[in-house]
Structure formats: structure tokens, C-alpha cells
Symmetry: C2
Subunit: 349 residues, 2 copies
Amino acid sequence: SIAFDSKKHPHRRYNPLLDEWILVSPQRSNRPWQGQTEKTSQEELPAYDSGCYLCPGNERANGAKNPHYHGTYVFDNDFGSLINDKVEFSDEYSDFFSMKPERGINKVICFSENHSLTLPEMEKDAIKEVIDVWQQQYDELGSKEFINHVQIFENKGQIMGCSNPHPHGQIWAQSSVPTAVVKTQENLKFYFEKTGISLLEDYLKKELEADERIILENESFVALVPFWAIWPYETMIISKRKAGNILEFSESEKFDLAEMIKDLTAKYDNLFEISFPYSAGIHQSPTDGLSHPEWHFHMHFYPPLLRNAEVKKFMVGYEMLAEAQRDITPEQSAEILKNLSTVHYKSKN
Amino acid sequence: SIAFDSKKHPHRRYNPLLDEWILVSPQRSNRPWQGQTEKTSQEELPAYDSGCYLCPGNERANGAKNPHYHGTYVFDNDFGSLINDKVEFSDEYSDFFSMKPERGINKVICFSENHSLTLPEMEKDAIKEVIDVWQQQYDELGSKEFINHVQIFENKGQIMGCSNPHPHGQIWAQSSVPTAVVKTQENLKFYFEKTGISLLEDYLKKELEADERIILENESFVALVPFWAIWPYETMIISKRKAGNILEFSESEKFDLAEMIKDLTAKYDNLFEISFPYSAGIHQSPTDGLSHPEWHFHMHFYPPLLRNAEVKKFMVGYEMLAEAQRDITPEQSAEILKNLSTVHYKSKN
Ligand SMILES: O=P(O)(O)O[C@H]1O[C@H](CO)[C@@H](O)[C@H](O)[C@H]1O
Ligand SMILES: O=P(O)(O)O[C@H]1O[C@H](CO)[C@@H](O)[C@H](O)[C@H]1O
């Protein structure tokens, strides 16, 4: 029998944030791809697009007009998944038919008035302004008595269901703490109660020691490919100190986060020299009024692409029914991302 | 305040198989769609394609030649995610870096020699033959000492990462019981130990009483949209009696399952008059040699499409970070599927 080599042999890895195993099949990277490919557009966008409902001064679907904003602009999502109204509910459902109304607020945040930009192409100060808005929104929405969780995220690229290239993100704030956040919280809590230390603080220490999956580091944050990442180029930004949520960050920490986001997303764009698609979002403590010493701020990046700008990883079949599966190892991905420049490829031309 | 109406108001529903909540936003169906659309092809395929590596007599990527088979044909996946070799492993990993080698076998099952067919266009007897093969494979693979779980599934359509339209499915058989199966098993077990009855037996009884989400029923099986479905047209086939796995089915039950699969997938094709994409697969007891009185055979269908042949549901951003979310309600989907004919649209022309 053969000696195990994680670069060659199929194996499973454990994700302590979700208490789940994943399947890694490094030998599968050689598989020829004859399946669906994605359209990529290298089209240059104008700084202002009269047909864009996010550009300054333009009309939105519900007839409202955007102000002539500069920098960031926040408004209520015109087609939200949640509604603010209180709904009367008598729990008549039981057994297998449990449901309950969910109250909440959906916001859209334009990152810039400039239609043609994306985060990696924005100035560090402008990204810092986006982070300021995240902080304000988390505070403002989270302070409402009926809002117990504030999910901040960005879908970037058509392939991620984003219908408008204008740089923007979303916030879904709601009464319940959502499924994946509850799970993460349970595992953070279990570890914290056992050891008195944040799970991610200990994890980060080990990752910095191992130095196999670290991509970027500055004074306040580290960007790495988690040991248990499922998407080919999945990454995570973790705060070095245990901050429970975005409210705890100082001005200089916000600048450091802006730099981290800029440099990481620039590397992403440089990988295939395209505007790199992903879903990204922040995991932090719920706004349920309880004390959450277990929470440790982090930001996930889930990019769908696998081998090049046209070939994505399909999370289908086995992955939907059984277990997440990846081909390229987290260490290989980290190596590639680490070696890429943080200077955006477009700025070089 | 307003009285709750599940057809109008955002709400959360509970999935007892996974012990998870999902978000339903019925009011969101009106949202205009300006995002990515999918290519659909109405192209008629030939019964034999000389370029197809699954057609009888043709050569595969590794140089092997398919026999001139008729009906089903099973072979080892040339680019499997698992390998059969035993790998030596000393558990040197600890803390946050837990991994272990995974041993297994990947099979491909051609459903028919006819390149142009799909399950809904095949004869009931021919689908029954596919089920016979599933039974044989579950038995044969599951009997191996190092195989503790046999995942049978089909990815159909380019949009589901399927690179060849030739009708085929896959089997991934492996040492470990995969993540989603372990979770399902825990919940089935908890319920069975508490009540002495199968969770799905009780659930099915309530669904048949409510008659709001039932699509098809025959002597041995029911097809329904689960109360907690996340994909717009997600369905589940459940055996009426508690069979732990496919080995327990008699000849007549296998014919009933073939009929159920044929009729359900014909309805799917009729929905948008296209070859309807999905990932489907069987959940049943692991082959770990233990007794599993909690298990109850069921088959999941996860189709990605939402409003028409071109618009899919994007499970991104909020869904990846927080919680699965759907727009159209399970009751609306069930109503639509129920009212569709089981006569395939192509056979009418
Ligand atoms: O093995 P295939 O069909 O080439 O590959 C397809 O199904 C697999 C199992 O669901 C996935 O891991 C792949 O991402 C997908 O492209
Ligand atoms: O709200 P948007 O950007 O129109 O919609 C997009 O993001 C949402 C949140 O991740 C998803 O529910 C939708 O499926 C997706 O298309």
C-alpha cells in the first residue's frame, strides 16, 4: 500500500466552523472539461450609464429617483425578500408543517457613483467609506428591536446572479438568526466555552505558523484559503484580534480592512485577467441583544470559477446530495493567489 | 397589523430531515429579471453520435472501447473523484488540520444505448432496467468491506455540470458516510427512537391528508414538493412503506418506481417544453453493516430553473452565507406540477 500524500490522494477534511467534512480529490484536476462554459465580457463600461437604475440621478423600477450622489448611496431594495410590516400570527402549524412569518429590511448599497468601477479598482479611501457604511448600517439596523441579524454581502458578476455591474452590495436584516450563522455560532461557542479562547484566534495562530495557506497579512487582518475551503479559490479575511463585529473596529482597522479587500480582490481579478466573480459577506455577532464573547469577525469570499474565466466548479449531484467536493487543493490555490500581484492588471495597461 | 398569509408574506419553514430553517419570500416573484439567462437548445440529437464517449462501440478518454451494449452499461469513471487503492495513513494532523484519506469507487451508468433519449422519453421497462442496475450496484459495491456508503445520482443538463447529453447517471461509493447523509440519518434516527415510526412515514401521512403538495401517487410511491423545498421545482419521491434501501424493493415496486420517475420527469419536461435539467439522487441506508431501522428510501430532485427555460434560481450571496431562500411557494409549484400532463410534449407532435 501507498503512503498518503494530500497533494495526490483523495481525502476528507474537517471544517470546525460548520462541524462538517468535505471531500478533496487532487488527482481529478486532470479531467478534461467538455461541459458548459461561461460567457466572459471584457467590455469597458462607461462611468455613467443612463439605463442603469443604480447610477446617480436615474429612475428606479418603482419610480423613485436616485440623488446625484457621490461615493456611497444606500436605499431600500425595491424587490426585497423581507417586509418591514408586523404580521399577526397564531401558531396553528405543527408536526411537519412548521412555519412562522419573518420580518426584515433589505438594503442596497452603491459602492461608488462610478458605474465602471469594482472594489479592486476603487481607491483604498473609497473602500474605507463602504466599510463606514457597513458599520453605520449594522448599528442602525441592528439597534431596531425586531432585527436580530444583519447580513452584509456582495454578489459580483452575472454568474453570481448579479444583474447590474454597477458596484453594489446588499444587506438583509431580519428577526431570526439565519441557519448558517446559527451553525457557525454553535461551533464558535462550543470552542470558546471549552477553551476561553476564540476558535478563529487559535486557528489563525496555527495558520500563520504553518504558512501554507496565507495570502495576505497586514497589521489588523489576514487573508487565507481555509484548510476546509470548498470553492476552488475560496478565501476568508479574519481579524487578528477577536472583534465580535464591525462596530468594534477603529479608524485604522477599517483602513486595514479596506486595504485587505482591495488587495485580495485585485489578486482575484489578476488570476484570469477578468473582473472576478464571487459572493462575499461578513459573519459577525447577531444583533439579538445577547452577549456573544464567542464571535470573531470574518469575511468569506466564495468565487465560482475553477480553471479559467470560462470554466466554473459545478456544485451539483454528489455535492447537493452528499458532500461538498473540490479538485485543486487549498494549498495549491493559496500558492497561486499568494504569488499574484496586488497591482490590478488594468492599471498596468 | 396584518393577518399572516403564507402565499403573500415572507416566512421561514422548518426542514426536519436536515434540522434547518429556510426562507420563503412569495411576494418576490414579481421581481423583474435583468440578470444572466441560460442557453437552451431544442436541437434534436441522433440516436448514435460517433463523437460521444458513452455511445456503444466508441472509444473513451483512456483508450478503452465501449461494448456494443443494448440497454444499460456500467463502467468505472475514467476521471473519478475517489481511488480504490488503500493508502497508508498515520494521523499526524490535529487541531485545525484534520484530514484523512478517503477510499472509494466511481461508476458511470449509461441508461440506454440510444444517445437521443432521456429518462422521461424511455419506456417504463427500460427505466425499470436502470433501477435493476442501481439495485445490483448498491448490493455489489455495498458488500465490499471498505464501502460504507453508495451514492446513486444523475446530473442532467449542461446547467448542472453534465458534459454529455447521452442518458447516464453516476455512483460514488466510498468509505465514509457523507456529510448530508449523516445529518439526514441523525434526524431520522432521533425521530424513530422517539416514536418507533419512520419520520417519512408520518410525514407522508400528513402530506396525503393535507393534499396541497402531492404531485403523483401510485401503489408504492408518492411524488411531492416537500413543505421545506428550497429549489423552485424541487420534489421528492418517497416509498409508501418504510424500505430502508433499494434492495428491499420487489419487482412490482421497481416497476412502480420506474413509473413514478417516468411520470415526474415527463411533467418536468412539459413545464417549459424543454429537456428539464436537474440533479437527482437516492437517499437510503449506508452500507456500513450496522442496523438502520430509521432509514426510509427517498429520491430527491433538485432542478435549478425558476421562471422559464432561461431563468434559473441563483443560490448565491445570502443563500451561501446565511440561509436557503425561495420565491414561489412549494404549494404553488406543486399545483403547477400536478396539473401538467404525464404525456411527454415531444410524443404529442
Ligand atoms: O463527474 P462529472 O459528471 O464530469 O462532473 C459533474 O458531477 C460531479 C458530481 O456531482 C461534480 O463534482 C462536478 O463538479 C460536475 O461537473
Ligand atoms: O437581490 P438580487 O441581487 O436581485 O438577487 C440575487 O441575490 C439574492 C441574494 O443572494 C438571491 O436570493 C437571488 O437569487 C440572486 O439573483
